[in-house]
């Protein structure tokens, strides 16, 4: 193996709270990159703002720590300009499903080849524990002065409506399982969403490690088949979506993790490649742009 897990680490001190689920996610990313043997200079990790947002600093690839809620647009622009890079976007649930919800939806529609990992802890960690969009109504974590006023959004269900082609849920403390999900997501051609159940011991005393440990089970172990086998069959697509929806709302005593839905559809890159013969290398590969000849366009203006 050319690259070991440590090659994907950095010397930066990790500033998460002890016991934070983010550690598990970080480990899973490190391991997934090693499993795939991706050269560090061919990977770029993007993040939003939040505790989760610090992730790129702890990964030894290109790391771009963007703005709160805007990680998907930035990562998308990067990928479209430099499509040979493997692009991973990460962020919090507030970042992705709250302030970034519009981009979360639009990314599903575009199906650019990138992996999006959401650290779903039910709270706004870095701003001290306000309710995030995934915290159910009526729940009062220790950081809330009053029970939460709003209904939770169901990320899996929304992703189905938005057109995501790979939709999964991981658990921060099943690192091996999460690693495998990340590997599958990176290998998937198209936008892959992994919503990760992430305990925040500091602010969320309801959805804890103990809570999840007692409930989480793996979809793949139940014979659940998330894959649309004939991607042009609209009927199969809809059936698989309905099946995934039912699973998405299973959140009582048993909580499924694993891949909920998966389909192969042309990516935005496929479409662009069909339109732009030299797209791909050319944009960031600075030289060809020196040779543009405007003559035909100027001629039209005569």
């Amino acid at each position: 193996m050319a690259y070991a897990v440590k090659d994907y680490k950095t010397e930066v001190w990790v500033d998460w709270c002890p016991g934070c689920g983010d550690f598990g996610i970080l480990n899973a990313i490190h391991q997934a990159l090693a499993a795939l043997q991706l050269p560090p200079h061919k990977v770029a990790v993007f993040s939003g703002i939040g505790c989760s947002g610090k992730t790129p600093h702890y990964i030894g690839t290109y790391g771009i720590h963007t703005l709160h809620g805007r990680v998907l647009p930035v990562a998308t622009g990067f990928k479209l300009a430099n499509p040979e890079m493997t692009v991973i976007a990460v962020g919090g649930d507030g970042d992705g499903y709250g302030i970034g919800a519009g981009y979360f939806l639009a990314a599903g529609r575009r199906n650019v080849d990138l992996t999006y990992i959401v650290y779903n802890n039910g709270v706004y960690g870095l701003t001290k524990g306000q309710a995030s969009p995934t915290l159910p109504k009526g729940v009062q974590t220790k950081s809330l002065p009053e029970p939460n006023l709003m209904e939770a959004l169901n990320p899996i269900a929304v992703a189905l409506g938005a057109g995501y082609t790979f939709i999964a849920r991981g658990y921060a403390y099943d690192v091996r399982h999460l690693r495998d999900l990340i590997v599958a997501a990176i290998q998937h051609r198209g936008t892959a969403l992994i919503d990760v159940l992430q305990p925040c011991p500091t602010y969320n005393n309801i959805y804890t490690r103990e809570y999840y440990n007692a409930r989480v089970y793996k979809l793949e172990e139940t014979g659940y088949d998330p894959v649309v086998h004939n991607p042009t069959d609209e009927k199969e697509i809809v059936e698989k979506k309905a099946q995934a929806l039912l699973k998405a709302y299973e959140n009582g005593d048993r909580i499924p993790i694993g891949i909920f839905y998966r389909v192969e559809r042309p990516t935005l890159e496929d479409e662009l490649a069909a339109r732009l013969p030299h797209w791909g290398k050319a944009l960031a590969n600075l030289e060809p742009i020196y040779q543009r000849d405007l003559t035909p366009l100027l001629d039209e203006l005569r």
Partner: protein, 628 residues
């Protein structure tokens, strides 16, 4: 000697094809060796509301509209008499008849009946043309005469045919332009339209003779010329600069630029992406810039209002190669979406919280728009800071005849790039250097990785709140602005048009340039004084020293701006301490006419007025073009 010109206007409801008629005529004039300036006023509406298009044509170069109309082509009643029947309680205008010069002409639908009484003036030549009858006749050869009512859209061609006859212009040139518009499967439409043109042309000749005092004749002109509008000039500049990714969210008047790029993206290998909103547009462009592409987004005020965060992000992460184009339109808020204004300068200068370097430049016409758009990307790469190019609706959509752009001397400069030393060689994305510039790298480069963040950071790009890292990075970023100030030549920052020692100095920026230039010559003749025009082009870094020097040396200074408060005047005072005593302002959403420049300057000089506010001729008497 005042320039000779003919000014034509066509008016009608949106969707009635006044654009096509006007642009066909403009193109035919321009190809005929003449100089054209053509601009449109229209509503934020798809169909039905009143719009009008002016085409001014001359044997000499011209750069702006004038108020007088020699020949008015009305596609509907509203063009003549206003919108009282639509808007009885709050009418918005009274038509354009008052803008027609004495002895001028009006083409209108004969079906309107006798309009003489309603015109309230009897010095005009009237050309009633039975629009539908013309269409019916034109359709005969195609066996469609019975369906002529369905072809009401061809009324614009009828008006154009009448125009040609009255102005006595070259029929074949116009027919050629029409033929180019309808190609392939739509060629039959060309034939129909040319037939309508012909039928009307003949009808007008037959019924009204050939006595119109203003004629337009084709002629020979030296050198290659093009007829171009701002969105095209910007798009061409971007293409020449090597634009890799253009993101946009539709908004008037910026969309047309992206649409143009979209149409040629396959040929020129540019990714043009319609995003979900402007926040996405700016951030996607920043992402593309970090990836190594030259990236850009074009928008108008409301879209720009969503970009502050992204601009600050680009600045602190030192994204190379990001240029934002802001097409100003009538504000505030949604405001006047399809009208023009120069009211976003203050915002563009302070486009986000905190302090960071960025460049703001405002080209004054299509030629500068082309070259500045090109150069903006060089600056964005070299200084790794966002560049904002301020244009406006008026520039975006006005057509003008200019010499064909020269491109051979244009050099792409992608700035200082990092040469990797070896495997994971400890590259510092935000290395602290004397110039402030940290060499950049294209991601994917073997052996190199980097980090960057919107948080304050250390040279490696990792978050740091340490006092010294903060100071280092802040100072380093701001040093780049000083560098830009030193390196960018004055010729890009301002231009003093006319004699250096003139008795009166006009000061302006952006697209008032055309009207001011067209007025300059007249002004001297009329006022018996010498005039020059200080055009400020770069607002940040601002050329405070030379501009201050020019102004302090100047004898009388008059500011001209297409906004309420004189934003450039404020900036000049902030930067130089110089207070310009007269402000000629206009903020009704319409551009300055040459007449208004003449009048505003007159009032400043003769009446010593401080604040002179212009209101468009569509809502007042025409300021007569001066005769000497």
């Amino acid at each position: 000697m005042p320039k000779r010109f003919v000014s034509w206007m066509i008016g009608g409801p949106q969707g009635s094809g006044i654009n096509v008629a006007a642009e066909t005529l403009a193109k035919a004039f321009s190809r005929g060796g003449l100089y054209v300036f053509a601009n449109i006023e229209y509503h934020s509406n798809i169909m039905g509301k009143h719009s009008y298009y002016r085409v001014r044509v001359s044997e000499d170069p011209i750069h702006a509209p004038v108020e007088e109309v020699h020949l008015l082509a009305a596609l509907d009643e509203e063009t003549l008499f206003g919108d009282h029947h639509h808007n009885p309680e709050f009418p918005t205008h009274h038509g354009h008849v008052h803008e027609v010069v004495p002895g001028g002409g009006i083409i209108y639908d004969a079906d309107l009946g006798d309009i003489r009484d309603r015109l309230k003036r009897d010095d005009l030549r009237l050309y009633p043309v039975p629009y539908f009858e013309m269409i019916r006749r034109a359709l005969e050869p195609f066996g469609k005469a019975a369906e002529y009512r369905q072809y009401d859209i061809m009324r614009n061609t009828v008006a154009l045919g009448a125009t040609l006859a009255i102005l006595d212009y070259d029929f074949d040139l116009v027919a050629e332009v029409i033929r180019e518009q309808f190609k392939g499967r739509r060629a039959r439409l060309a034939d129909m339209n040319i037939q309508a043109l012909r039928v009307t042309y003949d009808y007008v000749h037959e019924h009204f003779g050939n006595d119109f005092p203003w004629k337009v004749r084709r002629r020979e002109r030296r050198g290659d010329h093009i007829l171009i509008r701002g969105v095209q000039a910007v798009a061409l500049g971007k293409l020449q600069a090597g634009l890799g990714v253009q993101t946009y969210y539709p908004i008037s008047p910026a969309t047309d630029e992206s649409t143009y790029l979209e149409a040629v993206q396959s040929k020129y290998n540019v990714v043009v992406i319609q995003t979900e909103d402007e926040i996405s547009a700016i951030n996607m462009a920043v992402g593309a810039a970090h990836a190594g592409a030259r990236a850009s987004t074009s928008t108008a005020g409301p879209g720009f209002a969503l970009m502050p965060e992204g601009i600050g992000f680009a600045a602190i992460t030192e994204a190379p190669g990001l240029v934002v184009f802001l097409y100003q339109r009538g504000g505030p808020s949604t405001g006047l979406p399809t009208r023009t204004e120069q009211a976003d300068l203050g915002f563009a200068l302070h486009p986000a919280h905190g302090e960071f370097p960025h460049i703001v430049i405002a080209p004054g016409d299509v030629v500068e728009a082309f070259y500045d758009s090109f150069e903006a990307f060089n600056w964005a790469d070299r200084y790794q800071m966002p560049v904002i190019v301020l244009v406006d609706k008026y520039l975006a959509s006005s057509y003008i005849t200019v010499p064909r752009f020269e491109t051979r001397h244009l050099v792409i400069d992608r700035g200082i790039r990092y040469q990797p030393a070896g495997q994971r060689d400890g590259y510092l994305r935000h290395a602290v250097t004397e110039s402030g510039i940290s060499p950049w790298v294209v991601p994917g480069t073997e052996g190199v990785v980097f980090w960057t963040t919107s948080d304050e950071h250390n040279p490696k790009g990792h978050i740091s709140e340490g006092v010294l890292h903060r100071m280092e990075q802040m100072d380093k970023r701001m040093r780049k602005l000083e560098l830009a100030a030193r390196e960018i030549p004055d010729s890009k920052k301002f231009t003093l048009h006319g004699p250096a020692d003139a008795q009166v100095t006009l000061v302006g920026w952006g697209t008032t340039k055309g009207a001011i230039l067209d007025a300059l010559e007249e002004l001297s003749a009329l006022n018996g004084l010498t005039f020059n025009f200080l055009q400020i082009r770069m607002m940040r870094p601002f050329p405070a020293e030379p501009v201050g020097a020019i102004l302090r040396r100047a004898r009388r200074v008059i500011l001209i701006e297409n906004n309420y408060s004189g934003q450039l005047g404020n900036l000049i005072r902030e930067m130089t301490g110089f207070r310009i005593p007269h402000r000629v302002l206009k903020y009704d959403g319409r551009p300055f006419t040459v007449n208004e420049i003449l009048e505003g300057v007159r009032r400043a000089l003769e009446n010593d007025e401080e604040r002179i506010v212009m209101i468009s001729s569509e809502a007042r008497e025409v300021i007569p073009w001066p005769t000497r």
